[in-house]
């Protein structure tokens, strides 16, 4: 079982618990390879997927994980503007909890929203992304995929490429990988790397070729087109020239390197189609491991004798 009642973020999250989740994820991977992909572990448990921000893959991944564990699930999608108009976040949360549920999986555009939720309800809270803060289940599925590929995390060299400032995926990966003993280098335009990133215990390098030379794996982040031309990034062309993970660039290095991407991809912007579809990419393994990792997290948080609560 895990030491914390909720999964809000990987900052300060115990290494042994991350390892337990990853190990459990591998056992669920086997379940996913069976003809009947369903186990009764969470029968009778009710989980609400509370999405205050659009999401397709994370929501589907969670929903599949819940269904394969035989939990009952309810999906709630709300635009944040409706919250701004009237009902407060607190009311929404307390209303849903009043219907007798066991856990909430929440995505919200505000940093700290999941911690905030725990202050208003008693159910288990799983953070499915809170603004530019954390996205712990993504980082866990990334680490599961790395462990699957390499067999170890300690000492692994991971480059995270792209818009770090606006990325909850980056922040959770940094905390998780550091905790598990991996080395992390951030690479991207200096306007999209937080000025205090190095205080998190990682390196920063603006030269993507040096990072490719150094790294065992690259986690390539989505560059949102909204960031272009707004004073942070001049153009797609400029970004591709400086940071794009292109076939030409990779072929120059003559080395094996594992390519990851949390999706959704902007093919032709941060990553070439030919790279994304190549053998060195483990992007679809990440998706499958996403379901397995989320099964593991839900199982470990809800499956045991968790009624007492221990946070």
């Amino acid at each position: 079982m895990l030491q914390q009642k909720h999964l809000l973020g990987l900052e300060g999250y115990p290494a042994e618990d991350i390892q337990t989740i990853i190990d459990t994820a591998f056992t669920f991977r086997e379940v996913l390879d069976r003809p009947i992909k369903k186990v009764p572990s969470l029968q009778g448990k009710t989980i609400v997927n509370l999405f205050f921000e659009n999401s397709t893959r994370t929501r589907i991944s969670f929903e599949l994980a819940q269904k394969r564990l035989s939990a009952d699930t309810v999906n709630f999608s709300a635009s944040t503007s409706s919250l701004k108009k009237g009902e407060t976040f607190k009311d929404t949360a307390q209303n849903i909890e009043a219907m007798k549920i066991d856990a909430v999986v929440m995505r919200h555009p505000t940093p700290g929203a999941s911690l905030h939720l725990t202050q208003h309800i008693n159910s288990i809270v799983i953070n499915a992304g809170d603004g530019t803060h954390e996205h712990p289940t993504q980082a866990i599925l990334d680490m599961t995929s790395l462990q699957e590929k390499f067999g170890y995390l300690k000492g692994l060299k991971v480059g995270i490429i792209g818009d770090i400032s606006h990325s909850r995926v980056a922040l959770s990966n940094i905390h998780g990988l550091k905790t598990m003993g991996a080395e992390v280098t951030l690479c991207g335009p200096s306007t999209l790397i937080p000025p205090f990133a190095e205080d998190l215990g990682v390196s920063v390098n603006y030269n993507v070729d040096e990072v490719i030379e150094w790294a065992d794996a690259l986690n390539v982040l989505r560059i949102q087109r909204e960031r272009m031309g707004g004073g942070l990034l001049p153009s797609v062309r400029e970004y591709r020239n400086l940071f794009g993970i292109t076939t030409e660039r990779l072929s120059m290095h003559k080395k094996e390197i594992v390519i990851m991407h949390p999706g959704p991809m902007n093919r032709g912007v941060e990553i070439d189609s030919s790279v994304a579809d190549s053998d060195q990419a483990i992007i679809l393994d990440q998706v499958l491991n996403g379901v397995a990792s989320r099964m593991a997290i839900l199982y470990l948080l809800l499956g045991g004798k968790q009624e007492e609560g221990n946070s």
């Binding site: 940093p111 700290g112 603004g131 530019t132 937080p194 000025p195 990133a197």
Partner: protein, 430 residues
Amino acid sequence: MKTTKLKKQVVLKGGMILDPINETLKKGDVLIENGRMKSIGEVTPSKSADVIDCSGLIVTHGFCDIHVHFREPGREDKETLDSGSMAALAGGFTRVCVMPNTDPPLDSPESIRYTIDRGEECPIHIHPIGAITKSQDGKELTEMGAMLSEGAVAFSDDGLPVTDTGMMRNALEYATMFDVPIINHAEDLCLKKDGVMHEGKISTQLGLPASPGITESNMVHRDLELTELTGARLHVPHVSSAKSTDYIRQMKKSNNKITAEVTPHHLFFTDEDLITYNTDLKVAPPIRTQADQKALIKGVKDGTFDCIATDHAPHTIEEKEGTFDLAPFGMIGLESCFGAVNRVLVKENKLNIIRLIQMLSVNPRKIMGFETDLFTNGNPVELTIFDPNKKWTFKKSDIYSRSHNSPYIGEALIGRIRATIVKGHITALV
């Protein structure tokens, strides 16, 4: 808390009298007659006199806070001049200056007159600060002359900076005719953007949009330069960064028209306290790093800062219990002020208690041109009585403001107000 009318003769017996003007602290009694100072020294009370035992306590000038938001008119659900007065009394304050960012703002002689008249009905002295620009939108100067004759004491668009450098110059030039302070809320909005806290390791960990110290110091530097250019009086409010403190220290050497204030919360907290996304710590300018905090304390000790002001900014529970991005900026601070600054400055950083009291009484009065010699015989009494060593935990029940947005709840404070005497009444705290 209980307020009673002063008897004809009142004797404050056996306390330590702290005189912030003559910088003395010695045992003595205070005789008050008909609500006015009568004598200080050894007093033998007459039979009919009300004798208040002050042994173990310090008796001094009533505190004066030149930076509070009382929200009247417009947001009386957050605070009124009456409820704000009660918070002030609980904090030992007998006199406050209210900021003009009400709804509508105090940007006309009529609104200044309204505040003066309403203040007359309140148990403390209330002075309005007028807006620098009409509607606080930074475009047109207010009728400063007429507002001053109605009772305004200074001008500020507080809550918002005067962004346009040309407008700031005009405001300073114009104010030189009246020799009153201009108070500019210094934050460069182009740098601040949607920043909700100080930019640093903590904001990076929290994933919150943030602004660096230069957001403030850049504009403070501009204002200091403009002051030199115009010869106007500039008062720099709620200084939060080390760099701003340096600029002010430097410029004060050659210009005696510059004054500056620091808040209890910038002295008491650091950005690390925001790690739980506590919206009560969301203030503008933001609470910065330990290094900034140290620089502010140094600025207090070397006289860069003239006074302490709370920037008491009430907001409703509903607004503050939302998520961090939506919560408004500001915290209340009158009730917790003395226990907080006395702990940080006197107990932890060895500031002389007389210096602290100067920063809470005579110095802010000087900035605003108020009567400072409160111990002169015949003056209406304005006194604060406090226990300098009392250790206590600040609780919700210690709040008299209409709002409860205080991050001090649960914090250990040292030094506690026992009574506040003003306008012929004594308010005793249990």
